[in-house]
Assembly symmetry: D3
Homo-oligomer: 67 residues x 6
């Protein structure tokens, strides 16, 4: 009975990309762990870059510094 | 000291429904586990149907297929 | 398609109490939100009191101070 | 390899406040646990007050009652 | 900067299975979303079956009823 | 009303370290966001290194490769 939570920065992820993420992760859990698809939930959280801190700074600041 | 996270698809849940969900879950934890209400937090996350995968497909696609 | 996560301190919660928590929270989501039981997952996390901080102190210290 | 999730009510938290929260929590994990900054992720979730239940009522109702 | 949390019932998942789950989910996020591997964290939580409620009953009871 | 979840690998974190993590994070939320201490919960999850994937491999394998 798996539950999967995928958290990524909100950067224009398309519906088609979400479709593939859900499809592939579900297949992984079916293939590797023998789970039944109808027991698998995959929730994608898109997080604003200014709400995601990495290495001590906000992702928005981090990216600006990388440029 | 309970913390509860309820995740549901965003489908027009009303404030009155949220009120009842919080009230009833809090009462359950008070009655069954003897917790004090002022230590109980219940957070409701409303997730876009296109971000919730079930049985390998997005909920939006799943619902369309059920129609 | 609800997913519920209940986090409580590990204080000897019995199987019968877990049974009631799952049963009542599921009924709340069915009654209030019209969800189908077979789409509802409720996960209970029992957290060691020394891993749960409240009001700036560990629950173990907090309880000792209350005595 | 720490992951931190900070959940607060959405009450006009500024970018500068998010910056400080991320900076200080990262420093705490570096100083106290000896973690490397580039392994630390801090995600801030801003939750609508009507989606946050406390002591059995929604935060919006709780605040109104405190006034 | 993805973070993934996989929650499954604790049913004798082997290290080799965990290895494949982490490897495949990471590859999915790299291939589909273009993320960098060194920014991807995947945490597997193994939950005791008696702590996982499904369709209103504990997984332990659910399985017993299926036999 | 903040809730904080700190997830780290289980590597012999001491009670004194947990005490400082809780104390400092609570102070950060009080100082930066003006929250009240008695509304702040900080939960520390210690995750087995073999359950934490990073950069596509389990932390146990990652560390072995670094040696």
């Amino acid at each position: 009975m798996p539950y999967v939570n995928v958290r990524v920065t909100r950067d224009g992820v398309t519906v088609e990309q979400k479709r593939r993420v859900v499809e592939e992760i579900t297949r992984t859990l079916v293939d590797v762990l023998g789970k039944r698809p109808e027991h698998i939930h995959v929730i994608i959280d898109e997080v604003e870059p200014e709400n995601w801190g990495f290495a001590g700074v906000l992702t928005t600041d981090y990216r600006r510094a990388q440029e």
